[in-house]
Symmetry: C4
Subunit: 458 residues, 4 copies
Amino acid sequence: MARTTGDPAKRYKCIARIKFWRRSRVGSDITLGVLKYKVTSRQPQHFQFAKIKSFMHRALKDDYNYSGSFQEAIKPVLIIAQIFALMPVRGIGSKFAEDLTFAWSSFRTYYALAMMILFGITAGYIVAFLTNVSFDFDSVETMTFYGSIFIISISFLQLARRWPAIAQEWQAVEAKLPPLRLAKERRSLAHHIKMITLVATTCSLVEHLLSMTSTITFAVACPRWPAHPIDNFLYFNFSTVFHFVEYTTFLGLLGKVINVLSTFAWNFNDIFVMAVSVALASRFRQLNDYMQRAARTATTVEYWMHCRINFRNLCKLCQVVDDGISAITLLCFSNNLYFICGKILKSMQTKPSASHTMYFWFSLSYLLGRTLILSLYSSSINDESKRPLRIFRMVPRKYWCDELKRFSEEVHMDTVALTGMKFFSLTRGVVISVAGTIVTYELILLQFNKEETTAFTC
Amino acid sequence: MARTTGDPAKRYKCIARIKFWRRSRVGSDITLGVLKYKVTSRQPQHFQFAKIKSFMHRALKDDYNYSGSFQEAIKPVLIIAQIFALMPVRGIGSKFAEDLTFAWSSFRTYYALAMMILFGITAGYIVAFLTNVSFDFDSVETMTFYGSIFIISISFLQLARRWPAIAQEWQAVEAKLPPLRLAKERRSLAHHIKMITLVATTCSLVEHLLSMTSTITFAVACPRWPAHPIDNFLYFNFSTVFHFVEYTTFLGLLGKVINVLSTFAWNFNDIFVMAVSVALASRFRQLNDYMQRAARTATTVEYWMHCRINFRNLCKLCQVVDDGISAITLLCFSNNLYFICGKILKSMQTKPSASHTMYFWFSLSYLLGRTLILSLYSSSINDESKRPLRIFRMVPRKYWCDELKRFSEEVHMDTVALTGMKFFSLTRGVVISVAGTIVTYELILLQFNKEETTAFTC
Amino acid sequence: MARTTGDPAKRYKCIARIKFWRRSRVGSDITLGVLKYKVTSRQPQHFQFAKIKSFMHRALKDDYNYSGSFQEAIKPVLIIAQIFALMPVRGIGSKFAEDLTFAWSSFRTYYALAMMILFGITAGYIVAFLTNVSFDFDSVETMTFYGSIFIISISFLQLARRWPAIAQEWQAVEAKLPPLRLAKERRSLAHHIKMITLVATTCSLVEHLLSMTSTITFAVACPRWPAHPIDNFLYFNFSTVFHFVEYTTFLGLLGKVINVLSTFAWNFNDIFVMAVSVALASRFRQLNDYMQRAARTATTVEYWMHCRINFRNLCKLCQVVDDGISAITLLCFSNNLYFICGKILKSMQTKPSASHTMYFWFSLSYLLGRTLILSLYSSSINDESKRPLRIFRMVPRKYWCDELKRFSEEVHMDTVALTGMKFFSLTRGVVISVAGTIVTYELILLQFNKEETTAFTC
Amino acid sequence: MARTTGDPAKRYKCIARIKFWRRSRVGSDITLGVLKYKVTSRQPQHFQFAKIKSFMHRALKDDYNYSGSFQEAIKPVLIIAQIFALMPVRGIGSKFAEDLTFAWSSFRTYYALAMMILFGITAGYIVAFLTNVSFDFDSVETMTFYGSIFIISISFLQLARRWPAIAQEWQAVEAKLPPLRLAKERRSLAHHIKMITLVATTCSLVEHLLSMTSTITFAVACPRWPAHPIDNFLYFNFSTVFHFVEYTTFLGLLGKVINVLSTFAWNFNDIFVMAVSVALASRFRQLNDYMQRAARTATTVEYWMHCRINFRNLCKLCQVVDDGISAITLLCFSNNLYFICGKILKSMQTKPSASHTMYFWFSLSYLLGRTLILSLYSSSINDESKRPLRIFRMVPRKYWCDELKRFSEEVHMDTVALTGMKFFSLTRGVVISVAGTIVTYELILLQFNKEETTAFTC
């Protein structure tokens, strides 16, 4: 358009980057028309460098940064996982799945193993408390919590060893899929997963703070060492263990660390399954959208064969991923259900203080919301995997072929979904079963509702 | 036939109307043979005008008035909705879906919004009552009631914004369907919906009057201001709110208005889902009947292609409608189940007075009946959508073609039904699940049956 | 073989009968080789007449008497029904469905109506007793019993009006089915149904006698008129009604008659559904056996077309029958389940006398057994309707054709079964659901088991 | 390779054995290349005899001993069965199913019948104890136990009569399957079943010893004849029976024998179903692996026809086996569920001694584990029978044929699985239903948890 007076060196560097960027997307149908035009060789000296620079910046930020790959989208989730001593895989910052490795002799692995052992010891102490001191509902719940965390950390260690292979499979499948055309489409998955992570972590933080507040309320009301408020808090935070071990400030702090990490690890479990579900569903959607655009037009047998192979790859990918994470999924769902039922059981009790009440209701709402959203996200894979059926309906009679018939029957016969250890498939129906179970349980409880008050018993 | 001596002007007017009426039905296979014959141009002066006039009157009344369209059939339902401050869509009187519009700045919308806010405020007061004053089963029920009404009014506002689009989609699909041949067929849908509306509204009115009677019984037995019977009634009608707000006669009246409108809105919810279900099912039936007439005869590939496209349109229409109303459907079912279970819970109690007893049993029967009929109507869509399978069975081997095979597989694979937020499909099986749930609940209750008496506690 | 010296006249009569008998089975592949041989025209005077006479007698008894038709097999069930004032259809003794008629002005109908009214009056008195005198579990059970009988008698009256049409449809479908080749096959259905009727009626009789014994025990222990033992018995037999009406010996006897008829009518309900189920399943089996014999051999498209049409007819027949009896089926199952649960509820109570104990356990076992067998019989229709799928598997590749493919898909897609008012299909799975429900209920009861003793309270 | 100086006679004997061994595997693709090479006739005197001898030994041990047949794999299970007086079939040591026979007049049958009668008598005494002495939960459990054993021994006698036919059918089906290529594959099934038998029997032994310990604890605490500890133990071991019969040492020993045999028979029930399930699943896997190897390559219609016939044979075999053992399967599952629920019911009670506690928890864990593994093994048949669908997906378009389409539809439509008396199919879903039932039951119990203590009541 207008002339440019910018620094040629910079300009060429920019062009080089554009070329690099374009090359890295060979075969993709890019519609950033303006950019294309300016880069043509016939007008090398006639464009406004400032404009293209700013455009480049935007493009680089929005588009270059986002290749739309799973590897890229799952990155923040994995970083958070490693902060909380889960998933000790190396190379999670890379754009390429080939860079991912697992090594036993790495700092991340040591960190994860150390925390795993600490979780195990804590769970062991609580089992000892249960069998020797007091077998009540609260202690069973605490034991379930730390037991779950222990199993979760083992599961994620297991998963970490298989993750590089899964990520490479995923990358290979993605490479063959029809490319994402718009920058918005490439951006969307990563943004979605970031949002999930953000919201869930925030809620988890709020819940943990509320939980601390109610512990503090108790520590203030019934102090053990009236002069040391922090020690008081740390003591009551981990009182079950300190029934067996002599309290020291160091152990108190360690207990708090274990407590914080376990809370977040427990929460992270759900985030991880959500993120993977969203990513898998988005890949199915990518293929479906591609097919939907072509469905009403003239299509060839080869086109549908290509689509069918892509669909098959996705199904296989879903199974590979499910083989890796189905134990985590089962843990996730059973845990959520257990704690929801446990909390509902206590919903009839009068709480000892306002901070307990707030903690209780926030915690219950968060649990319910998280379980609902988790169910919806994970069942969306199944929904998307069935959508081709609706797309095939649009194909005109002329282009209906045997290949399409085979494709249609395969889609109909398959159940593509994440599973809980292969025991149940996560489909839309699961949500209503889960809801039904909770409501039934609540109804039975309501029936035998006796007003109980749990006062402070210092 | 015989000669006519009538007024030529009138005659021509009549002919003009006949022509207009025929024109408005271009392409439809009308079998009113007599009329056809008389209107032919060759015999303009030779028919008995009185006869044709009376015939015309009947035809106009039965046939002209009824085009058999959904727009026409749903009209009375929408009028009632607007009386009770729901569905503020403009142009519901028109025969054409294009005339429907939604505008924020319209009297209907203001009215709906005002009532919505009042419902919200009422619900808020009851929540305050629950948390501050008394947390018992009756108050929870009242809260659920007003909470539901609040959500219902929001849902209908949402729906009102999408309604013009849905109605146009519906009209477009209807235009392509094989036309209804007989006047009786065209009349049937509108009559059916009118009957539903009439019966349900009457029952709702009776229930409300009985409910008022039992409130009056209470107000008479335990008067607050013995001299002002109406104030007494208005006070007890909304006593929860007047725990916080000073009672004035105006507020009492307003409370009664809110009370009446909410009762009818709650009831209207079910009527609306029933009407839409009946209308959708009737459209499937229309296509099925058309196919059934031809199934045993010689049919072409084009015929079945045409039918398949029509069927596909109906499936898409069902989905569009479901996207619009699935929240309302879920509310409808969960509400009914909740109140049925609540009422059954109280069925063991001895009622304080005969008017309470009557109100209780009428209300329970009405709820049960309404839920049953609602389930049956809404599942009839699914039933009708599966009927083509039975029709295909009749097609002789000679006319069996690939197109028919594809059609048959599509019908088999699809689940066409209204859903409760996509969580469950409304099929015939739902009825038995719902009944099973209620019976199980009742059985558990019977087991722990303790004779309770709820006396007046002034 | 050997020569005969018998009376030629008798011989010819016999031959005529043989011919008549053969003619009545035109096209059927009869394998009674000996008979065939002797009847040939070339050897008219050379067979031992005595032998053929005895053979004829056997053949006539086993084979001629049994055409294998439904009409014939259901006859004893209908006769019993009419004895107990149900199913007032005329012409049930005929071999031809065309002879069946229903008439309002017939003795059977008057008898059925009279009993229906008496059942209704009895039910009304018990409702009055419930609302005015005592609302306890036993009275509710009695009310359910007489209420059910009232509804059953209405349902059978309804059915009687539609029965002639159903029986004719059945006869028409049977006529087109491949004929039953062996006398044994023709006999089997009628024998099976007779056996069901016999066993169920005997058990019902035993149960009623045991029930009478326990009433007598009570009447003897707490006599009202110590001098009149029979009046005592008749009084206590219908004590609920005699709370309102003055006791007279006539009314006492009438009460006993009502009591007996209602017990048998209640039992007959199940017999009827069993008999119809067995008959329907046997017709499917007949077609399946015919197909199985041919499956591995060379078959033509026409052969399978013929079979498919026959199968289709059976499916339609099943639906017609179901439309007629589905209300009765639902009543049957819900009744059985209700009384089983009721009895289980009382299984924990200590019985007041040995005769009560015996009655209780016999009654419970009979109910359980009857429900199990009813479920199995009624689900056998569905089992048989799915068997063609297994038969098609045997067809060699060479004879696999499109017609067979269509047939196979139809069998797969259809659900052919009796239903409970279309709410649930009677398949094998129903049995396990029903058993599961009972066991769950029993488990919950066991949990809250409190030893209760129901002593005599004169 | 190198020369041999060994004894020619031995060498030839060895060669003869090799030849025999090879002959017995005509058509199988053996890949033991070294052996093949050495046996060729051109180099008869030039191989190291010692090496080949040792190789031969290994080969004979690993491979010759294992033909991979079911007959061979089930042998240890049947031997154990006969030790515990079940499955009195003769010829179980043979490699050929033809050698299996059942005879009434054989020692095994007499032994089985004798034990069956003793189980029956024991069950009878406990019923007498229940009705005459004390009707409590523990006695009902004992009765259920001995009643089940009685029915199990009848069921296995029934099965024994049909076993020769089943085994021959199995052998015939196996003969037509694609052969197992590697020695490892041939070995695997027998090893698997041995392992199951070993682990289950060991656990059962441990459980029985723990049970004896708790009986001893009781006998020591409350001695009947303080001077005779063994008599004391034997008395309390069978105290229910000795309530009716005078105690003698002989009867006490007989009681202990019955007790031991019944415990193991009860346990064996599960082992048997597991072994059969594993064997059936392995046969499906064998065919699937064979198909999977060829799926991506060029295949002919004949190839798939051959596979389809094999698959069909397996389905039929599965049905034949299921017809034989479905009663045992139902017993197995209902028994396990009953005892799990019973144990959970007692989980809240405080145990009277440490040995009781240990026994209780070991027993519960073992029961839960066994039921879980049984469910997984038996559902693996269904899983494997569905795997062909996934294999068909890999077939390239070029080799996709009508035969494959028919195969695919058959796999999709069929439900191949063991069943519980045809009432429910053992699929993966059963596991979650069973788990759900147990958890629901536990939840309801937790709700009404009352701390009970069952102290010694001498």
